[in-house]
Structure formats: C-alpha cells, structure tokens
C-alpha cells in the first residue's frame, strides 16, 4: 500500500507537468507539428538568409537599392495597399451580405468566395488579362471611357485584389456571425440611427478582424506573382512588381541577389504580421477583459 503510494507520488512529481493534462498525446503532436514547421517553414527561410549572407553588406545594399528594384518596391507597395483597401471595403460588404441576408444561391456565393484560393494564380492571371485586355469583355467597356487596366498598375491592383479577397471575407465573416443581435437592438432602442449603430456598435467589434484580414491580404499581395505577371505588362519602372524582380534574378542565375530581395520582402511581411498580432492582442484583451 505504502509502496504504491510512494511510487505514484514519485511519478507524480516527475511528470508534474504532464500528469495534469487530460488529453493524451500532447508531446507527440507538438513534436510532429514543430518538426513540420521547421521542415516546411524555418529551414527554407534559413536557407534564404544563408544564401544572402554570402554577400557582403555593400553587395547586398547595391542589389536591394538598384533603381529598377526600388521602383518595383514602390509599385508593389502602392498596388498592394490599394488592393487591400479595396478588399477591406468589398470584403466587408461581401461578408455582411453573406451573414445578414438570406437569398437564393447564398451557399453558392459563399463557396465561390474561396475560388481565388483554389484557382491556380496563373489561371487567374490569364483569365483576368483576357477579360481586361482591350478586346476583352471588361476591357472594351473600360477603354471606351478611357480607362486602361491591362498592362498598367491598375491591372496589378485587380490581380492582387482578386487573389487575396478571401482573407478579408473569411476573417470578418465569423466575427459578424458571432455579434449579438441584442447589442444592436439595445443601440436602436436608445435612439441610435442605423449609421450610428454601425459606427459605434458593429464596426468596433469587426475592426480587429478587419485589420487582420486586410493585413493578410496586404502581405499576400506583396508576394503575389502568378496572377500579376500576365496582366501587369511588366514595363520596367512602371509595372514591375518585386516578386518579378526576384524571378528575373533567378533567371540570371544570380541566386544571391534573388534571395537578398526576397529576404527584404520576407522581413517586411513578418514585421507587419507581428505588429498586427501585438495590436490585436491588446485590443481584444480590452474587450474580453483579461
């Protein structure tokens, strides 16, 4: 009797952390997850940095500040910004319609939202260029009013917006579904107009999800390649995106330069995601009160 008690006390001490868990398999599942995270994410990233580290600081600086490359940063940042702002507005509208209203074909629309994720980006690019070229369905109409989309930065914005819209819809949608109708009813019973209810009650709850969605959409747009190259026209200093510059360096077998530019893009994306996460954590803590 006393021996068993001793043994269990000892093992209890040894596995103090583990014995409190109810679900088994924590160690195994965490191990596998970390292994794959390393294999698929960390290792290639390390390779990227290693490849870059072969360069001297001057070489690195020279590569990433090449005027044509710098121009591509501007184009990429501006178009990605425009695309994610558009997605923020349109994605919110789409999520709103999908959550708030019932209409025939709602399930279909809901499924179609994911299409940009499922579709190969090259297919998206070719489709877009067919539609927006001067002889295409949309291109004809737009050129009639003097707007050129294909082979201009506007085309880049459209390609980026198309491929990253699901981020906004899919982050805002669940939050919108969770909103309690009582909050809105309370606001209306207090005399608030519809606009005020949206601004003061609904939007503050959606805000964190929207920022996350827009940020994801933005970072995704920074790296978009397949959909863009077909529609962008790739005119130097006008409609070249950074991912294209990386691609061009690769075609020249200049791996070091390619990874130098790539690591810069990586850095920007990571900084953005981390800061969004920090901000959101703080905002949500206030709402949920921890």
């Amino acid at each position: 009797m006393s021996t068993t008690a001793n043994v269990s006390a000892a093992s209890g001490r040894r596995f103090a952390g583990r014995s409190k868990r109810v679900l088994p398999g924590f160690g195994l599942s965490l191990g596998i997850s970390l292994f794959f995270v390393s294999l698929v994410l960390l290792l290639p990233l390390t390779g990227l940095v290693l490849e870059t580290s072969g360069m001297s600081w001057d070489q690195f600086w020279f590569t990433v500040t090449d005027p044509r490359v710098v121009e591509s940063y501007k184009v990429t940042l501006l178009t990605a910004f425009a695309a994610s702002i558009f997605n923020g507005l349109f994605g919110l509208l789409l999520a709103w319609v999908l959550v708030r209203y019932d209409f025939p074909g709602k399930r279909l629309v809901d499924a179609v939202v994911d299409l940009p994720f499922a579709l190969p980006t090259a297919v998206a690019g070719i489709t877009l260029v067919t539609l927006f070229s001067e002889s295409g369905w949309y291109g004809q109409l737009l050129s009639a009013v003097g707007i050129e989309v294909a082979f201009t930065p506007v085309g880049i914005v459209i390609a980026m917006a198309f491929t990253s819209i699901p981020f906004v819809v899919r982050t805002v949608q669940p939050v919108l579904e969770e909103l309690s109708p009582a909050d809105e009813e309370a606001a209306v019973s207090l005399g608030a107009t519809d606009g005020r209810v949206f601004r003061k009650v609904i939007f503050p709850s959606l805000w964190p999800a929207m920022v996350t969605g827009v940020a994801l959409s933005f970072t995704r747009s920074l790296g978009e390649f397949g959909a863009i190259i077909f529609i962008a026209g790739n005119t130097p200093y006008v409609s070249e995106v950074t991912s294209l510059m990386i691609f061009m360096r690769l075609q020249e077998y200049d791996y070091a330069a390619a990874s130098a530019i790539a690591s810069l893009v990586l850095l920007v994306s990571l900084v953005l995601l981390f800061s969004i996460n920090l901000w959101q954590g703080r905002y949500l803590r206030r709402l949920e009160g921890h």
Partner: protein, 373 residues
C-alpha cells in the same frame, strides 16, 4: 404613461406566438408578464418595444398609437437578459450612449451629459466604475449599468426582458429588491418578463399570466395567488394538491376518499384544487372530508414544516404537500410512514368542462361563494 395593447397577434412560421392579446398596463406601476417558455411573453414585450412587428392589432402609449413607430422613436428603455452592454465602451460611455444618440438639437452639452452619467452612477450605487469596461464588472453590476443606460434618456416606459435570468440566486434577490426600491422612488411605468412565479409575485404591482399566446389572468399578486381563475394559473403558481373524482349528492368521491361539497348542485366529473396552506392534517378524518394520506417526507428547513404525502386507497397525479407551523409540528409530532387525514379549509372546484373554479369553504359554511366571478 399607460400602455394599451389592443388585439395584438403574432405568427412565427405557423406558430401562433400571440393570439389577439388585449391588455391594459397602468401608468407608474410595475407589471410582470409571467408564463412558461413559449407563452408569448417575450414576444409581447418586444412588440411593445417595437423590436418585433405584430401581424395585427395596435399598441398605444397613453392615447398615442405607436404601432407604426420605429423603436428608436418610441422613447422606451429596454433591458436585456444578457445585458447587451457595448463591450468596447466604458461604463460611462455606455450610459451616455442614449444621450449622445439624440438629434443634435436635443442633445445636451458634454458637461450636461457628464453630470447625468454621474447622477445615474450614483443611482445604481456604482459611482466608481465609470472608467471600467463591461467585462470588468460582475453580472449584477452589468445589469445595473444596463438599467442606468436604459434610464439615461428618461424614457416613457421601461421594459425588462428576464432582467435577472442570467444572475445567480443571491444576486438575483438583491437586485430584485433594489429594483423594487428604485421603482417606488421614481414610479416609471415598467413591464418585465419572467418565468419565475416568486419573482413576479414579489416584485410586481400587477401580474399578467400568459399561456400559449393568450392572457390567462391579470391581477394583483395577492389576489392572483388566492383566487386563480383557471387550472393553468393554479398549476403554474406554486404547489397545488388535487383530488379528481365524481360529484354526486353534494359529495366528491374517489375510491376511499371523499369530500362533502355543501351547496354544489352539479353532478359529474370534477377536480378539487387545494393549496398547501388551505389544508390541515389530523390523525382522524373530519365530518366533511376523508382524505387518507401516508407521510412520505418531512422538510424542516424554512419558516414552515413542509410535509409530503401520498394518497392511501385513492389516486392523485402528484404528491400532496401540506404546510405546518413548527409549533404545531412539535405538538402533533407526525412521523414518516404514518397515516394522516387531510382536512381542507378552503378549496377550489373545477367541474368538468368549466374553465373557472367554484370556491368551497368548509370553515365558514355560510360563506360559500358560488364563484369567483
């Protein structure tokens, strides 16, 4: 502001939630809408508020027909079961919400709003929480803030939807008492929905009992308990002991049990309803009733001893319950398993097919009243 509900109906996809309900809610009184779930009480409250539209009928505040008026123009205060406070706003901002929603011309100045918020925080006895967020408050505090928010614009009518439903028993009792005191001080016309009989009877000036989309009875709490007008109200409000049987020759009997019914001429199937406090226990039957029962359990906790009994030699759908004072209990000393006889003082007889009971009084036989009506 009194409220008149005139033939309000509401149908949800084939479910008749309200069936031509008409009701008058007096000014300055606290009225309870009481009923089981699905009785339509919450729907009625939401229709009064304008959060739900009715299929037919009118709602009047005073003499004004508000049926077509939007919620925001009805000038009501509404308190929700789960508080519905705005999580991203501080307590002060929550309370000020209604004032800041007023059209620019009617909106008070910033300092005026500030003053009113402070005043309301004092009223709800939470002067120090102005800068906190709702998640930092307890359930009872949240509901007080919700109430202050609803009262900020000085609404004509205060509507509360199960306001204590999400709180635990102790807080619920405190808040109930506090709301009653607040009401006695300010006398706003208020309507609250509840499924808790005790809450309705303790808190309100007038109780509206609802069942299946209809009003069963409207009365003051004391009259409602003493004179229920239907089987439903009887069953719904507190414990009741029943004897079902046949009436023949001014006597209701079933197997070994019988009760004399002086003055009742009708014959046929009938049910006698007896409240626990309308029955006494004795070791031998009385001249007007023989109701043999066996004691099943005795509960000593409370201001009264509660004795549960099962019929002996006859049937009843539910266990009987009789209350006895502690001094009486000490004198008589009943014990579990013993056979006792129930001696009714006052009873309520439902004849077959009748919706309303007839009172029977054995204590003062001269005082037999034919009916409540």
């Amino acid at each position: 502001m009194s409220i008149t509900i005139d033939q309000i109906s509401k149908n949800f996809d084939g479910f008749q939630a309200l069936d031509e309900v008409s009701l008058d809610i007096p000014e300055g009184k606290l009225t309870a809408l009481l009923g089981p779930s699905g009785s339509g009480k919450t729907t009625l409250l939401r229709i009064i508020a304008g959060l739900e539209s009715s299929d037919g009928g009118r709602i009047l505040f005073g003499d004004e027909d508000v049926s077509q008026l939007h919620v925001r123009d009805r000038n009501i205060g509404f308190v929700f079961q789960h508080y519905a406070l705005f999580k991203h706003l501080t307590v002060a901002e929550n309370i000020a919400f209604g004032l800041e929603s007023l059209p620019r011309k009617q909106r008070p100045s910033k300092t005026e709003i500030q003053r009113r918020v402070d005043e309301l925080l004092d009223m709800i006895q939470l002067p120090d929480v102005a800068k906190r967020y709702p998640t930092q408050l307890s359930g009872g505090q949240k509901q007080r803030v919700a109430l202050a928010r609803a009262l900020a614009t000085r609404p004509r009518i205060l509507l509360l939807d199960e306001p204590f439903g999400a709180l635990d028993a102790k807080v619920r009792k405190d808040l109930r008492r506090w709301l009653r005191a607040l009401h006695d001080e300010f006398h706003f016309t208020s309507v609250f929905v509840t499924h808790d009989q005790e809450e309705a009877l303790e808190l309100s000036d007038q109780v509206v009992v609802m069942s299946q989309g209809q009003v069963e009875q409207v009365n003051e709490p004391a009259s409602l308990y003493a004179r229920p007008e239907s089987r439903f109200v009887f069953d719904f409000l507190g414990q009741v002991n029943t004897l079902s049987g046949a009436v023949r020759g001014q006597k209701l009997s079933q197997a070994d049990a019988w009760v004399s019914l002086p003055g009742i001429q009708a014959e046929g199937e009938a049910q006698l309803y007896l409240r626990p406090h309308e029955v006494q226990l004795d070791r031998s039957p009385a001249s007007h009733a023989k109701l043999p029962l066996r004691i099943e359990s005795i509960s000593l906790i409370g201001s009264e001893v509660r004795i549960e009994l099962t019929p002996e030699g006859w049937q009843s759908n539910e266990i009987w319950e009789v209350g006895m004072s502690h001094s009486e209990f000490a004198r008589q000393n009943p014990a579990r398993g013993e056979r006792w006889y129930a001696i009714p003082d006052v009873g309520h007889l439902f004849l077959a097919g009748a919706n309303h009971p007839r009172s029977v009084n054995w204590q003062y036989p001269s005082g037999i009243s034919a009916s409540n009506q």
